[in-house]
């Protein structure tokens, strides 16, 4: 970074360029101020930091390892591909980093109830986990559509003692779950902390959630340096709301030699009407408490997003990403459902690692990028989650389930062509 240039790592909100802010009912402002103050105090409190670090060491399983994947890399132009293994964290994704941090802040505020929204269920599971660990009540809002496609995660949350409320309004997916969580919070702020699961929402959520995830990039930067003796040429991640991407990007923001790529869910194609490519196809507006890019019609009504990945099926994106896109520091590109699913299968077969469909978007982008950058390049990929939760979707997609035989015993056995 040039001398005298302001570090891109110092953004404290509430605004990132023209993005961010607080577009919420007045009733929530006091709670957001209280949260901001508690978070600022925690940030510089060595007791808090030590407590979180100890939880990460003994509970999350941090530091997460990095894994070099040469057999996968052969399909990515021979580039040296290194995965940051957030999939190995307790609960199966990066989401736990943020949840433990916020739960500790909530405990400091004397809150006894945690609420959360969830799409794929990973954030809901992580929040239910933290609530169980800290002895707090937990309510998770989940779009009805998502409760069906992620039924196993619903069971996990219930097993952990959480109440899962299927949301039946609007598109019945993540955005509507956020609406209902906000409605709950407006009425319950005295006792309740809203554990927002991504780098979106009103200030201080975008900065706080980023800060709880930036450990991903900090660890990975040191690990890659130790392994290769140099910084990677590029860092890649999938972007829905953008929490895992901000987490791994942040440590590299001032490394101008490191290109940053966020891969958005293009569903059936970003030029069709069925996608979730917010930065690629959206325009600035206000949703869920912040100004950022969003998918919307001419009247400013939010357009429903589409993605095979429930965790990326969101028509908004965190304001810091909107800003990084505008200033050209990070590049955001679309990846279709099919590209992601092919990458999911490829990593499974070449490396024995089954990624979450969300993370598979980053892998698909990395395959393209590796072919551009060539065999001399090194690419760090945030493998944000594991694919266990996606087995039903993947099984159907590749037609490798015997489920029809299970459902209807009178049918003959189905030959798994993809087996």
């Amino acid at each position: 970074m040039a001398e005298g240039t302001k570090s891109l790592r110092d953004e404290l909100g509430p605004y990132f360029g023209e993005y961010g802010g607080r577009y919420v009912p007045e009733s929530l402002i006091a709670a957001l101020d209280e949260l901001d103050a508690a978070y600022q105090a925690a940030k510089t409190d060595p007791v808090f930091q030590a407590e979180l670090a100890e939880l990460h060491r003994t509970y999350t399983g941090r530091p997460s390892i990095i894994t070099e994947v040469p057999r996968f890399g052969e399909h990515a132009g021979g580039a040296r591909i290194i995965l940051k293994r957030e999939d190995l964290n307790h609960t199966g994704s990066h989401k736990i980093n943020n949840v433990l941090g916020q739960a500790l802040v909530a405990r400091r505020l004397g809150k006894t109830r945690l609420i959360a929204e969830t799409g794929a269920g990973q954030h809901g599971v992580a929040t239910a986990t933290a609530a169980a660990l800290f002895g707090m009540e937990c309510v998770v809002y989940m779009g009805e559509v998502d409760t069906v496609r992620q039924a196993l995660n619903v069971a996990r949350m219930r097993l952990l003692g959480a109440t899962v409320i299927p949301v039946t309004t609007g598109s019945r997916t993540l955005k509507d779950a956020i609406n209902d969580a906000l409605r709950d919070w407006v009425a319950s702020v005295d006792t309740t902390h809203y554990v927002l699961g991504t780098v979106a929402g009103p200030h201080p959520f975008p900065v706080m959630v980023r800060d709880f995830h930036k450990i991903i990039g900090e660890e990975a930067r040191a690990q890659v340096l130790e392994l290769t003796g140099a910084l990677p040429d590029a860092v890649t991640a999938c972007v829905g709301g953008g929490s895992n991407a901000m987490g791994i990007f942040h440590a590299f923001l001032d490394d101008s030699s490191v290109a940053l790529y966020g891969y958005e869910a293009a569903g059936e194609g970003h030029l069709t009407e069925h996608h979730a490519a917010t930065i690629t196809r959206g325009r600035p507006g206000v949703l869920h408490g912040a100004r950022s890019y969003l998918l919307q019609d001419e009247d400013g009504q939010t357009i429903e997003s589409h993605s095979i990945s429930a965790g990326l099926d969101y028509p908004g994106v965190g304001p810091e990403h909107a800003w990084l896109a505008d200033i050209g520091r990070a590049t955001y590109l679309p990846i279709t459902d099919d590209e992601a699913m092919q990458a999911l299968r490829l990593l499974s077969r070449t490396e024995g690692i089954i990624p979450a469909i969300e993370s598979a978007h980053a892998l698909a982008g990395t395959i393209k990028l590796g072919r551009e950058l060539g065999p001399e390049s090194t690419i760090l990929v945030n493998l944000s989650g594991r694919g266990d939760k996606d087995m039903e979707t993947a099984g159907k997609y590749f037609d490798i389930l015997d489920a029809d035989a299970l459902a209807e015993e009178d049918r003959g056995p189905i030959d798994g062509a993809e087996r």
Partner: protein
């Protein structure tokens, strides 16, 4: 300066206070929503609050959500909002405020939106998810056009924030009766009385209480300490269940107790 404030002051002068009635535009259809709003005005409602349906109404409870979702499913466009205001103000003198979440205004263009609203005869905006801190553009535009701007005040708001809401609002300050969203409640929170009292200390001369009000007794009680009482979900439910006649009857019952 503000027709809404004048109407509220006039009702106050009569020893009472204003009844503010909410209905969404386009529910169950555009024409009926216009007739229903006019029925409110003709049956004791002093200020009309017309809601613009929005895809993500975080401040609204289930009754209003269902109504506005249906309006959107029927093809509601922002233009219908201006059309409704024009049709209503052509037939009744009751001032009409639009209640709208901020993104539709932002996408339409704040200046263009304000000009269309003035042309339609509208009085101003109630903005549930726009706090004065984020409202620089709207403050400038409302100064230019003379439109009212109603900001919210909550029981949790600090003294400084109440002062800001009072200073920035014109027409009235929307005092949120309870920590929650729209929808009928059996008790209007005691917090409302305390909030209005704190708003008075902050200099408010026009404060209306909303959220949870659904009976003539609650209206009467609120008007004992506030300048206006805002009723929404009850009227929407009446419209959904019994059409325009039921809305007229509900408004009359709220206004007179009969």
């Amino acid at each position: 300066m503000s027709r809404v404030a004048d109407v509220i002051a006039a009702r106050k002068g009569e020893g009472s206070g204003a009844l503010v009635g909410y209905l969404p535009v386009g529910f169950p259809d555009l024409a009926t929503s216009i007739e229903a709003a006019i029925a409110l005005a003709e049956n004791g409602v002093d200020v009309l609050e017309l809601g613009l349906p929005y895809s993500d109404p975080v401040m609204d409870g289930v009754v209003i959500q269902q109504a506005t979702q249906q309006a959107l499913a029927n093809g509601f466009r922002l233009r219908d909002g201006f059309e409704a205001v024009a049709a209503i103000t052509a037939r009744v003198s009751t001032p009409v405020l639009l209640m709208t979440y901020w993104n539709p205004v932002l996408q339409f263009g704040v200046d263009r939106f304000a000009d269309e609203l003035v042309a339609a005869g509208g009085a101003g905006l109630i903005t549930p998810d726009l706090i004065p801190d984020e409202a620089a553009e709207w403050l400038a535009t409302s100064e230019r056009t003379g439109l009212d701007r109603v900001f919210l005040a909550a029981p949790s708001s600090t003294k400084a924030r109440l002062e800001q809401a009072v200073e920035r609002s014109r027409g009235f300050v929307y005092a949120v009766s309870t920590m929650g969203i729209t929808g009928a409640r059996s008790d209007v929170d005691n917090a409302a009385r305390g909030l209005v009292s704190r708003l008075r200390e902050a200099g408010a001369t026009s404060a209306c209480v909303g959220l949870g009000i659904s009976t003539p007794e609650q209206v009467h009680e609120v008007l004992g300490y506030a300048d206006g009482a805002i009723v929404g979900s009850l009227l929407v439910k009446a419209l959904a269940d019994g059409g325009v006649d039921a809305v007229a009857a509900a408004a009359s019952y709220l206004a007179t107790g009969k």
